[in-house]
């Protein structure tokens, strides 16, 4: 469906489709890969998909609040990457592997 906006060159639903595809690629990556690093990469992909949506709608509504939220998403992504990589280092010291299905100590 075409948005009502006349001057916006890129239809806002294109952003929706792109970010849906990118988000699902990330979700499939998290679900199927065994390597902890690839799982962290996939989480970053999903965050980028969300950012695309925020930027697209921010332009559509002519409101900068979406851009501000993208900045916060980036800050949280940086924090998440730092803590995630620290956990990866600690796990690798403990178990000499990064394959997530080999971390079974907590298995009930």
């Amino acid at each position: 469906m075409e948005p009502t906006s006349a001057t916006m060159p890129i239809p806002v639903d294109w952003y929706l489709y792109l970010s849906a595809v990118l988000f699902l690629i990330g979700a499939v990556g998290v679900l199927t890969r065994r390597n902890l690093f690839i799982i962290l990469f996939s989480i970053e992909l999903m965050m980028n998909a969300v950012n695309l949506n925020l930027v697209g709608f921010s332009r559509f509504h002519e409101d900068m609040l979406g851009h501000n939220f993208v900045l916060f998403t980036m800050a949280i992504a940086a924090a998440e990457a730092a803590v995630g990589l620290a956990i990866a280092v600690a796990l690798f010291r403990n178990r000499q592997t990064l394959m997530v299905d080999l971390f079974t100590r907590m298995k009930g």
């Binding site: 916006m8 806002v12 489709y17 990556g29 065994r34 690839i38 002519e62 851009h67 803590v83 100590r105």
Partner: protein
């Protein structure tokens, strides 16, 4: 029209980069594909008149976060990654089927939606009046979202301290190695090949 064509090109490249990220067996190749994806997303930000965010995307995502990843991969001194099946074989088809199903749902929902906005994108007049995109961005950031901004800085500080604590070695030898239980060890051949 030109913007639409460029958007499609960068969108296709973004998706190719994303697919490369989750399918590569070698994590360094996956990382390079991820940087490629980030750069294409930055290009789409440029097309969407989010100039400041595009630059931040390149500096912070493709720059700082990726350097962090590369540093940790180097720090862990991982051996070769070839020859080893790195996916959950049984889970793979279920995950793919679910993803396609969700995508179909998304498309069905989006196709039935009409988006209306009182305004129509950033007009050149509006930008000129307000003194540029970055100025509007900064005004919005410090006027409307000042408290979240401060909270984000605190979150970054906590994450930094937490990361340092997690990576720090304990005093008196490597406690982590002592806690290692041989019964839990993966088979030797698995350990050697896949890490």
């Amino acid at each position: 029209m030109v913007e639409k064509i460029l958007f499609v090109i960068f969108a296709v490249l973004t998706i190719i980069g994303g697919l490369g990220t989750v399918t590569r067996r070698n994590i360094v190749h996956g990382l390079l594909f991820l940087v490629f994806t980030f750069l294409n997303v930055a290009a789409i930000f440029f097309l969407s008149q989010a100039y400041f965010l595009a630059v931040v995307q390149i500096l912070v995502y493709a720059g700082a976060i990726m350097v962090l990843f590369v540093f940790v991969i180097m720090f862990l001194n991982l051996r070769t990654f070839q020859q080893q099946e790195q996916t959950h074989r049984r889970q793979r088809w279920v995950a793919l089927g679910l993803a396609v199903l969700v995508l179909v749902e998304f498309v069905a929902i989006f196709a039935g939606m009409t988006f209306t906005s009182a305004r129509a994108g950033f007009s050149p007049d509006m930008v000129e009046q307000s003194g540029g995109f970055t100025r509007v961005f900064a005004w919005s950031l410090f006027e409307r979202t000042l408290l979240p901004l401060e909270v984000a800085s605190a979150v970054l500080l906590v994450a930094m301290v937490g990361a340092i604590l997690l990576v720090k070695k304990e005093k008196g030898g490597d406690v982590a190695t002592q806690a290692w239980d041989p019964e839990e060890a993966p088979p030797a051949n698995v350990r050697d090949e896949e890490v």
